[in-house]
């Protein structure tokens, strides 16, 4: 039966209900077990195969050798898309997706997360700096588009 205000039952019910909004910073969010937060790396299990580095869609992982049979891993968490392919590809399951997601920061450097000792040279940073200087000096076309 056509009438205006057909949704009246919902309106009246809602007047008595608690709002459905989760007041997030005050109330914590409940996360399911499959939730993909930031990846974490255990250096003891790594064998240096670099499959994670190859498979990462965002090229956010860099594995460097620091000593015999010891590797260090750098996650560029600002490039990471939190897909979890690294965790799936790793044959030794040394990368796991944690439940950490509150990573907002004012300083981009804190998002370049290095695990296990000596931070390797940040290959990504260098490349980006080079492209920027190149642009300012000559607007001519470079032969390497993208720089990746």
């Amino acid at each position: 039966m056509r009438r205006p205000g057909a949704i009246w039952r919902e309106l009246v019910k809602n007047l008595g209900r608690k709002p459905v909004t989760v007041t997030y910073p005050k109330e914590p969010m409940l996360l399911p077990k499959n939730f993909r937060g930031r990846p974490v790396y255990d250096p003891k299990g790594c064998i240096g195969c670099k499959i994670c580095e190859r498979d990462c869609p965002a090229r956010a992982i860099t594995i460097t050798k620091v000593a015999e049979k010891t590797w260090a891993c750098t996650f560029a968490l600002d490039r990471c898309v939190y897909c979890g392919q690294c965790a799936d590809s790793c044959p030794k399951k040394t990368i796991l997706m944690s439940h950490i997601y509150e990573m907002a920061t004012f300083d981009r450097q804190t998002l370049i997360d290095t695990v296990a000792g000596v931070p390797p040279p940040l290959v990504l940073e260098e490349n980006e700096a080079k492209t920027a200087t190149e642009v300012r000096q000559e607007p001519a076309v470079s032969s390497n588009p993208g720089g990746l």
Binding site: P32, R36, D55
Partner: protein, 391 residues
Amino acid sequence: MSERMILPIGPQHPLLKEPIHFKFTIEGELIVEAEIRMGYNHRGIEKAAEERTYLQDLYLTERICGICSHVHATNFAQATEEIMGLQIPPRAAYLRVVVGELERIHSHLLWLGVAGHEVGYDTLFMVSWRDREIAQDLLEIITGNRVNYGMNTLGGVRKDLDAEQIDQTRKGLQELAERTLYYGNVVSNETTFIARVANVGVLPKEVAYSSGAVGPTARGSGLDYDVRKHLPYAAYGEIPFEVVTSPRGDVLGRALVRVGELLESVKIIRYCLDHLPDGPIAVKAPRKVPVGEAVSRYEAPRGECIHYVRSNGSDKPSRVKVRAPTMGNLASIRHCLLNQQVADIPIILAAIDPCFSCTDRTVMLVKEGTREAEVMGWEELRLRSIARRPI
């Protein structure tokens, strides 16, 4: 008699969720002419896909769209699996269907809210999005994320369903079914809503067919075509369900088709959960893909989505082409808009459920007034995007 005004809508406008440009010529409140310019959301995805391996491309194609991300990922995976000659295990096929139908539910509830908002029915907007959260929570429980699920891998799926997740899904589906029936009732009976959508933006069946409309836009005009029924993929060949059509042809018809599809999706997921086969969830896929090409189709919430993948034997594809459903529906919009009122522009646009992020692919720039088209090459494009002074 009244003078003609040009009303520009977009690329930034409150009624548009994504940028597109319309130039309407109006006489008072009547639309006399409509011109469409698209391409504002072009991101170079097809080019980017050629520089990444197939596994990385799975995640890239997933991010073509936020609302129908599983569509693109599955479509790409299906095309690649066909080139590789892989047969995915039946459990993986059923799991892909479950996630795909949950995505359809969340997309149609999103559309219901957006349609309500475009006609000023804000209450429907708020409460339907509240209930959409049930579908989003279920997707998060199953796949780990609310959008861009990352459920697929080449050869199957990545995550399995355990008993607790199945139980939670069933409870969520029960609530979704009840709420959908209530919204169907409200949408069919609310006077102000029907006054805005009935007999508005009428698309006759022949015009829908000839202009290439797909999905609920075409089914709302009486065309009985659904990829899941007529060219089944994944597990759809074994699942019984109805194709919902409406003979009306106006926006109300499309709304009723979407509400009907919501209920059908709930039935499909329940069938899948009841008949989930045992077995592995993925087969191993080779890194290098043999030479070949494949076309894959998928019934996205908006219509038929087509992916074409061509491989040259290496581990990166040589060509990926995506035809999103909105591209097919955009041609029919011009017919819907002529001789309608300015006040109806938002709801007619919203009725095809536009997703311009999916749609914008390579654009050819045409000089105004001529038919000369120019394609910008890679070097010129890079130059324009990084130079500090205009070239």
